[in-house]
Amino acid sequence: MDPDQEMELRLRILELERRLKEMVERLSDAESRLERADALATVGALVAEVAHEINTPLAGIRGNIDLLGRSVQKLRNLVLSPVGELTDARECGELFPIIESALRTSQLACERVVNIVEGLRRSNRPDDGQCILANIHDEIEGSLSLLASEFKRRIRVVREFGEVPPIECRPVRIGQVLLNLLVNAVQAIDGEGEIRIRTWQDAGNVLIAISDSGPGIPADLRHKIFEPGFTTKSANAGTGLGLFICRRIVLQHGGCIRVESKAPQGATFTVVLPIRQGREKERDDV
């Protein structure tokens, strides 16, 4: 090969390398957007639930503000009435317990709204791609708070939280995995049922098992559930990307997801996450 040919070949290799790098970057960008879109779709599907959950404290606040206005008006009438017509100091005194109760109830209602909004903010936190130490129980509770009205109405949640250390992870993405699994569990239960969440530590990993009392996953479908586009839900209930993305996120953390199901006895998804990153081991998933 003459030097000119060699030079040309080198230039072509460099060009191909550049294009490959560009494609990898675009792919990675597309994957991030897909993850983000899935996160938004999951939270979006919960909008009606969250709106319902905010509605009750809002009703309390609205009703109590009006009640306080009425109480102030009554006090004003009593205090400003001509001397001698002031019926009784007792009448004024009777208003104070109502005012105090309205203030206390409004305060509780405000705290409830703050907690719900905090749950929403958690699920929509910016993800800078950095791993930090996070408490897995906080992530579970954040996801549970978004599904509160379902749990109140028909599903009992059993928490079997073990002693687990904080794990090094991208909390936004792990929160997304947990929310996805919980939404799936809720949707799997027709009518009343139970979701059991168990956490424990095993060697260098933290394990989170989410079990539902739904009908379970038939054996012939079990190997397909992590494939992109596979869904058993109706068109407006699922994109078929949730579990595929969950698996991707967990693998990126050096962990794995396992599924066990003995139809018709419900399903258990177990997420295994290493406590510290950078000590990845070979793990089997599914």
Partner: protein, 158 residues
């Protein structure tokens, strides 16, 4: 003789709702108010207190508001029934109008003025029904007396 004070029952699993409504009625009415945060408990107590109007939340953990009102209707058929719903439950509320003979449904967050008006009108309806029932009973009695007189008259002329 003391004046009749109607009894209003409020059932909502959220204490902040029962407290808010109890305070509102305390401030703006002379109704006797009974509250429950458990629909089951409200049903088990339903035999002890005569209720003129019952307000029930729709979304409750033990049973939904329509089921509760249907069961309450079996125990106290004359109590006026009002459902308190979130916007998302509106369709269920409309269905309940026929299913449990619902007098009215109110959406959360409610307006105190509207709620007071609905309750006042519901209690007036209850009072009118009560009067109607007593008039019917009087008419029945009068009818029975007339029948007796008629029988006696027929006997007298025979």
């Amino acid at each position: 003789m003391s004046e009749f004070r109607p009894t209003v029952l409020i059932v909502d699993d959220e204490e902040m709702v029962t407290t808010s409504l109890r305070n509102l009625f305390r401030l703006e009415s002379d109704y006797k108010v009974v509250t429950h945060t458990s629909a089951r408990k409200a049903l088990s107590d339903a035999g002890n207190t005569d209720v003129d109007l019952v307000i029930s939340d729709y979304l409750m953990p033990e049973m939904d508001g329509i089921t509760f009102l249907a069961r309450f209707k079996e125990i106290q058929p004359h109590a006026v029934r009002v459902l308190l719903t979130g916007y998302a439950d509106k369709e269920n509320a409309i269905r309940a109008i026929n299913a449990v003979g619902l007098y009215q449904y109110l959406e959360k967050p409610w307006e105190n003025d509207k709620l007071l008006m609905v309750v006042k009108n519901g209690l007036e309806k209850r009072a009118l029904l009560r009067t109607l029932e007593s008039k019917i009973a009087e008419l029945d009695q009068a009818h029975f007396s007339l029948k007796s007189i008629q029988t006696e008259l027929i006997r007298a002329f025979m």
